[in-house]
Every structure is written in structure tokens, then in C-alpha cells.
Symmetry: C2
DNA sequence: GTAAATGCAAAGAATTTGCTAGCCC
DNA sequence: GGGCTAGCAAATTCTTTGCATTTAC
């Protein structure tokens, strides 16, 4: 877990967690990952899930998405990409917009420090929820 | 607290909370706000702080910044702006980059829904922490 | 006067941590 | 074999909530 000294060992548990994360695009919570991993490894503990998620984030294999005061969510896609969050249903979608790496340099210049990455999220109403709202409006 | 029906009353507590938030640019946590408000109003309760922060966020007077698995932070600046987060010391700085409103439209087109706003955060090392790291490197 | 907001305290929920045993390198 | 990890459970920590009382309008 400490990456500066010592080394990180490969374990079945961490492998399973990463596999689960990479096989979905639903941006799951720690608990969802726990339930999934438990299917093939009934004895895993939630503590292990949390510890490994933290390690994976530190290793850069996984992105952490804290959204509001709810749960923390995780994203197994390592490449840079942005997200859209539907405020009605809570769904998180990946976006195709290309990463604006030049912004990092601009910000680095402004603050006089280093910038390693950025995170960009859009908030609104997804197409499905929009349809529901419009249907409800027509009825009224 | 419910903004759709009923009405929101003006209270000393909420006024104090908003004043505290607007008089700092440190993006404080709920607990910091609590400590500050308590200086002029020793009987406020943490519950009131949380309830009012939520109300202020709903009213759009305050921004909520959830960062990592730590505390939720609040920003009393209502106008759109972006943030830089130092991963060494945790400090959050406001940035001067202009808001890219056209991105919202682009994303709305991509997902077929509505986009109300976005949030953009940069992560890295601030100038002060960078200086410390470099000083340490020189010594070694 | 009445509904909304506060204070207080207790409950809740997510995440972390201490410890012993086990597994990876 | 040594030390990182897992498992288990207790502990922490941040946040929310119930209820009686107070307060704003």
C-alpha cells in the first residue's frame, strides 16, 4: 500500500478487483465491486476491497470519482476521459471529448507549480430522464 | 430546506455561515465553518451548519466541492470558476481561466440531454510544495 | 399563529485500521 | 523466510435525522 518504499505484490484479490472494474462501464461504488468480487471469491472482505482500490488509484490503474456527499465511485478506464453525471438518476456516462492537455500547462504557468492532470465533469439531465420529464409535462 | 414548496426563512445562523464562507478563499470544510460561526454564536450546532450548507448549495449561493474520500469542502464564490488542488498539502486555489460554456452545449449534443454546468479541477503540486521538494532534492 | 429552523444528541453510513494468519517473491 | 496482504471486526469519521423548542414572517 505504501508505494514509495517497499513494493506492491500481485494478489488474486487485486487482480479480481481490477478485472471487475475493467469489465463494466458503470462507474461502480466500492460496495458494488465487493459484491461482484464475492461471487468468485466468497471470502473477500470489504476492507480488502477498500485497501486495493486505494492502491490501484495510487498506481494510476483506476480513477476515483467522488461525487457529492454520496459514495465514492471508481472507473477502471485508465486513459483520460471526461464524465457526464445525470442529476436525476445519478448515472455517470463517459464522454468522447478529447482531453485538453494544454490546459494543464496553462494552469501550471498561472500557479507556478506543477499540474499532473485534471478532471472535468458535466452535470445535467440525461436523455432518458429528459424524455420522462417531457412526457410528464405533456400529461399535465 | 425544501425549496420547491414552502419558503426559506432568513436566519441569523444562515447569514453567519454565508458571511464566513464569503470572507475566506480557503474552501473550508463544514467543521471549519462550524468553528468560525461558533466564535460569534457559541450555541450553533453542527447539525445546523450542515443543514444550512445544504440549503445554500440548493439556493446556488455556495458551491460544494467533494474531493477524494476526505471532507466535503465549500466555496462561497457563486460565480463560475475552476480550481487547482495541491496533492501535497491539500490546498485548493481558485483559477482565473475563463469558463468554457460552449463545452456544455457540445456535451449536451453528444449525450442528447441537458447540461447545466460543469466542474473542472486540476491536480498537481503547488508552488510552495514544489519549492520544498526541490530544496529537499538539493540536500540529498 | 404557524410553519420553518435551531439545538442537542443519537443514529447512520462509508471508510479506515489493528491485529493475526497467510501468501507472494 | 521476510514482509506485504488478506480477513475479520471494531473503531473512526463525516453527515444526517428525530424531536422538542424557538423564531421568523
Amino acid at each position: 500500500m505504501v508505494t514509495t518504499k517497499g513494493f506492491v505484490r500481485k494478489t488474486k484479490q487485486r487482480g479480481a478487483i481490477l478485472r471487475v472494474l475493467q469489465s463494466t462501464d458503470t462507474h461502480p461504488t466500492a460496495d458494488w465491486v465487493y459484491q461482484e468480487v464475492r461471487k468468485e471469491m466468497p471470502n473477500v472482505s470489504l476492507g480488502t476491497i477498500y485497501r486495493n482500490l486505494k492502491t490501484l488509484v495510487e498506481m494510476g490503474e483506476v480513477q476515483e470519482l467522488s461525487y457529492g456527499s454520496g459514495y465514492t465511485r471508481y472507473d477502471g478506464k485508465a486513459h483520460d476521459h471526461y464524465h457526464f453525471v445525470c442529476e436525476q438518476c445519478g448515472r455517470i456516462e463517459d464522454l468522447e471529448i478529447e482531453c485538453m492537455a494544454e490546459l494543464d500547462r496553462e494552469v501550471a504557468r498561472e500557479i507556478g507549480g506543477k499540474v499532473f492532470r485534471h478532471r472535468l465533469e458535466f452535470y445535467g439531465t440525461c436523455s432518458e430522464c429528459l424524455a420522462e420529464v417531457q412526457a410528464a409535462a405533456r400529461e399535465a
